[in-house]
Symmetry: C2
Subunit: 358 residues, 2 copies
């Protein structure tokens, strides 16, 4: 079941189910997002947690990415292994092993840049306790009511920022936030205002302001245009887009341009035990199911449910051995199911390999 | 972040989140299930799709397992790589690459045994079309109304069985079924009756009858005791059990004995942005969420929701850097999130490594 470069995925060598990455769509998305941030004076630190792939990271950096965002130290270590010089961990990091690694890496390589978030004095204390000769650079995180992490008020944020500035081993680099959980453009605008206010209040030369950026980068591009801070967008899912969750939520639904779905799963019909019922050989180990079930490319096929190794569909005219294609919903729970994926051209010829590092 | 044998997982070398396998529980479960099948005259072909781990497979086979069950050819190839001589694919196999591999393996190694299911003439035709010098041994699958794959009537099953017997390249080995989707002991008994009837009607010397066996092995043990067929139970999840889905459904809730949860995820509190709210550094990439959310080991902690990299909990008195332990629900979507897991003793000292091969 080896992928042979130049050969079609249907030539017989590859087994199914199989998730493929469509090169055209991937390249289109990388270029589209790079152009968007350039046109809006932003910088992109693509969230590598989506794919955790050296090959895709290289494309994102070649297109002008600032560096990579990750969610935790283990991912930072992995992308550092890709040869990446700038890493932002978009969380308060408290893991001793991870911090010790980062401190060692900062010491070893003067060119290595490492940013982390903090939203509490306790968190800053943990960072400081693991710092080496070069301090950890910190973005103080401002959250919002009903949100995830982040200080809940400007006062609190300024207290944490002040603590960073008076504590050896840590250094204030700016402000971070996450707008992804907000429900409307108005809510996002209000929250972005509070982030701008925060970044104006923290006394840092050349501050960074980092925001999410999968569902609201249009609003971010408009609202943060006059900010003096360097805006680091952490968009991740854009790179493969999808046929479900992000298809419905992409900012390109509100402006010109588009992202294209780059992930597709192909699977065999294993059994058609009743008229109109087919059991497909693709399950929860092969395709995401948490933000919508796979989307059949063929009309007249309805996905009923997914099990560990099977997808139950309603459709007429299928027989065992038929191959079906499905788009996916939610790339972040797609890549982590595969260690190797063929990169294919428009004719499904293998043109490369995408490896993941979860 | 390397596991050091003999060292505690809390000694500082390992990063979090971390899923561990508790050796005591694992060994207890392997021994318990082996004793159950021995006492009931059954044989166990543990479903390796649960763990896809060479180390756990070795324990299951050492305890007397017939061989291993898998769900698809890619898994068959992987467990064959563990050095396993008997593999049952618990599905109608239609994947050309997988069948070509299996045919080659049968030809190469006269000691290799390979069983597959079939529930249609079309499926049998596909098998026959890929057979090599040694035929594919086939269990004809009997399903039930509302079930997954499998012939929906005895007549249909006997037609498929007859087709297997008259077709070169395939050989009838017995009957298979799957009772896991049934809702009550009565439904299971009725279905097991139909399987027994089927195995009496197919004309095979020393027939095999394979059934599922995670939720109803007590009923199977009682009902199939007088059957002449060799009963191959395909239980999988038993080996680690869990604190959720299987804890509620194990047959040991209806008889003496127990299985013990062997999987546990440890993760840091990253942020406590509001009183009573904590953001934990464990997400959908680290622990299962499809059949119940992780189960906190500490009282007073309630899991609200899981995101890609975070779990939101309600609890008082937590602070950033605190480590929390969680049991899991549904081992089949736990192992596939990890490539390496430390095997730990009662004191969380690392005593070995469990690798997975998804």
């Amino acid at each position: 079941m080896q992928a042979v470069i130049g050969q079609s995925i249907f030539a017989g060598g590859l087994g199914f189910p199989l998730m493929v990455v469509r090169r055209d769509a991937l390249e289109h998305n990388v270029v589209t997002m790079a152009a968007f941030v350039r046109d809006h004076g932003l910088e992109l630190a693509p969230h590598a947690k989506t794919h955790m792939s050296a090959e895709i990271a290289a494309m994102q950096l070649a297109a002008g990415g600032w560096g990579l965002t990750v969610a935790m130290p283990r991912q930072a270590q992995a992308v550092r292994g890709f040869g990446v010089d700038r890493i932002m961990v978009a969380n308060q990091v408290v893991d001793p092993a991870g911090l010790d690694w980062a401190a060692g890496e900062l010491e070893r390589d003067p060119a290595f840049e490492f940013l982390t978030f903090a939203d509490s004095v306790t968190g800053v204390g943990i960072l400081a306790g693991h710092a080496g000769s070069r301090p950890f650079r910190v973005l103080v995180e401002l959250g919002h009511e009903g949100g995830r992490a982040g200080c809940r008020s400007l006062d609190e944020l300024l207290r944490v920022a002040a603590y960073v500035q008076e504590t050896p081993g840590v250094e204030l680099a700016g402000v971070a936030g996450y707008e992804g959980g907000l429900k409307s453009g108005d809510e996002v605008r209000k929250y972005l205002d509070s982030l701008q206010e925060a970044v104006e209040h923290v006394r840092v030369r050349n501050p960074i302001l980092s925001v999410g950026g999968s569902q609201w980068f249009d609003v971010i591009g408009r609202e943060l245009v006059a900010t003096q801070a360097k805006i680091l967008l952490r968009s991740g899912a854009y790179v493969t887009h999808d046929d479900g969750y992000y298809r419905e939520r992409t900012p390109f639904n509100r402006m010109e341009g588009e992202l294209r779905p780059a992930l597709e799963v192909w699977a065999h019909v294993l059994s058609t035990p009743e008229p109109g019922l087919a059991i497909v050989g693709m399950g929860k180990r092969d395709a995401p199911y948490d933000e919508g079930l796979p989307i059949p490319r063929r009309g007249g096929v309805t996905v009923v449910t997914m099990q560990d190794q099977h997808t139950i569909v309603r459709a007429d005219g299928l027989k065992p051995g038929d191959l079906l294609a499905f788009g996916i919903s939610h790339p972040c729970t797609a890549f982590d199911k595969w260690r190797v994926l063929p990169l294919v051209d428009r004719d499904y010829r293998v043109v490369g390999t995408i490896t993941t590092n979860f």
